[in-house]
């Protein structure tokens, strides 16, 4: 082994050599080239990716983690510059994912087991001012509570960045709600406002998504709209408003994993493991809070989960 002979010439070489020898030498893997997995900028995704990376390393694969933008990464996944993206949300990434899989150069490796929730959300203390919550009509009845000088007399609803879609402007229109939609530019801005309002116990209703630390840290509830169906978005006559679509809540959908099409041929075992990967919302929520709220190191949280759920993840690499 070349690595070893070179390492030996150094003081630390022997120790490192031992460490290498001790690492469970797993069954021969198909290729020792590094599998490049993308990291984005939210904690849940970092956890998912690090978990997968640890499992793959355990199976003997060589893994490299690289920073990449959530949507821009598809360009790299198509060319094979990048190999694995662990979290593509049905709710925000569907369009880009479909475009990429249509080229045949990117494949969908199935759901992560987590369900993305995106919906209007309010802090629990708002229940006093607006009896009847979480029903959306009750929310509408006290829209004025949520008004600000810029939006008065309409209530102010803080929507997600325009790039996330979500049809909130259409929803307000279709359900004839007395709200004005204001879009935040990033999710940092979104949660900054939530934190500010929460500190002051000020009225706020905004777009929150899960798995995320916010619904864990702040006490609150999702607004209950008429439940989403496919017809609601496509067929105007469906729902309370016969002339408009979107008179219902938002879809909840899986968080997908995608890989470069070549992964399947180059590292078949790794691809099977990625396909098998699954974890629940509750487990992820707990890990996200451990990192973001308890400020524990990410590696430690990942290792803890691995130790506790050995049987579960071992089954992915069988």
């Amino acid at each position: 082994m070349k690595t070893l002979t070179i390492a030996k010439t150094h003081l630390t070489g022997i120790v490192l050599g031992l460490a290498l020898a001790v690492t469970p030498a797993m069954a021969e893997v198909e290729s020792k080239d590094p599998i490049k997995m993308t990291l984005h900028d939210w904690t849940g995704q970092l956890l998912t990716t690090n978990l997968m990376a640890e499992v793959l390393k355990n199976a003997g694969y060589n893994v490299e983690l690289v920073q990449a933008d959530y949507i821009a990464q598809f360009a790299g996944l198509k060319t094979g510059d990048l190999h694995v993206a662990m979290e593509i949300w049905e709710t925000t990434g569907r369009e880009a994912m479909d475009e990429a899989t249509a080229t045949g150069k990117v494949v969908n490796a199935g759901s992560t087991g987590m369900q993305a929730i995106e919906e209007w959300w309010y802090p629990a203390y708002m229940k006093e001012a607006c009896p009847g919550l979480p029903d959306w009509q009750a929310l509408n009845d006290c829209a004025e509570e949520f008004a600000t000088p810029e939006t008065a007399p309409m209530g102010r609803y803080l929507g997600a960045p325009v790039t996330w879609g979500g049809f909130d402007d259409e929803r307000v229109e279709a359900l004839e709600m007395d709200f004005e939609v204001v879009h935040a530019g990033t999710d940092a801005a979104l949660f900054a406002e939530l934190q500010s309002a929460y500190q002051r116990k000020a009225p706020i209703v905004l777009w929150v998504y899960a798995p995320h630390w916010a619904p864990t840290k702040f006490e609150g509830e999702w607004v209950e709209f008429p439940p989403y169906t496919k017809e609601c978005y496509e067929d105007a006559s469906w729902g309370s408003n016969p002339d408009a679509a979107y008179d219902c809540g938002k879809p909840r959908g899986p968080i997908w994993k995608v890989t470069w099409a070549g992964v399947k041929d180059k590292w078949p075992g790794a691809y099977r493991a990625i396909e098998a990967f699954n974890i629940s919302n509750a487990e992820m929520g707990a890990m996200v809070s451990a990192v973001d709220l308890d400020k524990r190191p990410l590696e430690e949280v990942v290792a803890e989960w691995m130790a506790k759920n050995e049987k579960h993840w071992k089954s992915w690499i069988q």
Partner: protein, 679 residues
Amino acid sequence: MTAVAAASREAGHRWVAPVPAFWFAVLIVTVLLSNYGRDLSKAWDARWMVRYPSGWKLPIASEISAAMKWLVEEASFGLFTFREMTRGIAWAIEVPYDLALALLSTGLMQGLGSDAVQLVPPLSWIAVTLGVVALGHYARDWRLAALAGGAFVYLAVFGQWDSAMVTLASIAIAVPIGVAGGLLLGIAAYRAPWFERAIMPVLDLMQTIPIFAYLVPILFLFGFGPVSALVATIIYAMPPMVRIATLSLKGVDPEIVDFGVMAGCTPRQMMWRVLVPAAGPGLMVGVNQVIMLSLNMVIIASMIGAGGLGYDVLASLRRLDIGAGLEAGIAIVVLAIALDRISQALAARRPDHRESGAEAGLIARHRRLLIVIAAILGAFLLGRLAPVFQAYPDAYTVTTAAFWESLVAWLNVNLFDTLEAIKTALLTWFLLPIKRFLLGIPWPWGIVVVTLAGWHFGRWKLALLCASLAGFIAVTGLWPKAMTTVYLCGASVIIASAIGIPLGIWAALSQRAGKVIGVVIDTLQTLPSFVYLIPVVMLFRVGDFTAMIAVVLYALAPAIRYTAHGIRSVDGQLIEAGIVSGCTPRQLLTRIRLPLAFPEILLGINQTIMLALSMLVITALVGTRDLGQEVYIALTKADTGRGLVAGLAVAFIAIIADRLISASARAARRRYGLEGGHG
């Protein structure tokens, strides 16, 4: 002398240019059209007047996207494809970058990915700090050495060391490439006037197109990872180097050139042995600019994989860890200050320092270098025994994050209502009227006004430029977003000038105030705006007002700097004359200093506009509906054409503003006889 200029000259030496009746009429028409344009268009059944019809839109965006696709997927030079070429360039950048990263951060690795094994650890924190201290001493004196050393110790103590070294590694690669490239282009521009004419507009575009607009194509061409981030940084940071190189080469004393000719220099010797060394101090100013702009880029670079301090800022603000974000942001400022002071000292350094030790032996002459080498080796060996010599121990790092967190929370709980009242007043009486006025102007009239202004200041050439650039914005269907941009920047520039010009005057008149203000604006310019954007959102909510505050904070610096510089450089004899003729200090200021500094102040406002425009993309992150948002959407959708077109629209607004203001500054200078050119 043109009629208009003559007219304004006759109007006497008041420092506010007279408003001719013609411009007053234009203003009246604009106000009327802005208010009643919509009704008018209904009455005439001409909806195209207020809303550019989508059927007239030219498909420029999709054409650019298609061209980009062809470039990435098909373009070929025969032997190799275009993409292979860019990937080759990427490789050429990656090799030295990996080396720098290995030295400073990761250590020398063997193998790839998670199989990699560290062969040699990176330089220890003690060695790097000592190296910087030695450099500071070499550049000037012990005080600078202490400052630089202190900055690096700060990084270690505040637990920012690892990220700071990743950032430093990318700066260490981006800066030399930017400087070398800038110098070569500058030399070419100096030698060939046609090249200078060709490259200046390109430089304008490089500086004014928001970086987000070209990130996507760069990712396509250079691949994912730190190299793309480096390429983007270099594109952004190089233009000032080209400009300064050209200027300082032109500024070399002709006698020196004559001497070179007499000594029989070949053109090559002339350039590298005579001109470049003679232009040295000027060139170092360019180097300094490249360093500062590269550091400005670290946040955006971290969005596409640069890592380092920028990534720390982004990541901590995403989980609303304001304290941690601020600390990482301040670490960037500290790094910037250390590098800035050292590079400025190197620029000012007289070469004769070196000669003083020439008689002494080899060891004596390179004592400093030897000490550093010894320190590196010593720290390496000691690091084997005790890890504290290798890496600063985590247990001894300090953090003030909790303090900032509670400060913002306190402000939020106790001052929110007061701030809200101020904000509402400003919105109702200042921002919204401007917005309504600008967005109400029908686009054809908007183009007419810009063209007329071009004609006024620069005759047909400038009029043509203004008309075509404004026309481009209209035909791409971006007019409303462009006007929102103008409104947001315009309002911010007005406020920034209202704060900045008085501060600049104060800084010029009082040395102590000047020093304090200098430090504050340096910090504001290098502190990544994302750091204060999030607390500002907490206090003022998402919206135009928040965006405006961010823009004002960032764009304040040039208004202050140029004003101070303009007032300081007023001829002392004129001040004397004023005092002799019995001016009060107030009269000295309003009758002599301000009028004479006026052209300089205008240039400061010009720079303020440029910076305000460059902040647009950042303000899109808090949710504005302007061109910045358009660029940002295009980035997240990886839509090359849409991003570039919106980026060009931003650049064109900048160019129109720049040309008009420069032309009027020239006219003002002529009026006060500061510059020749009576035509």
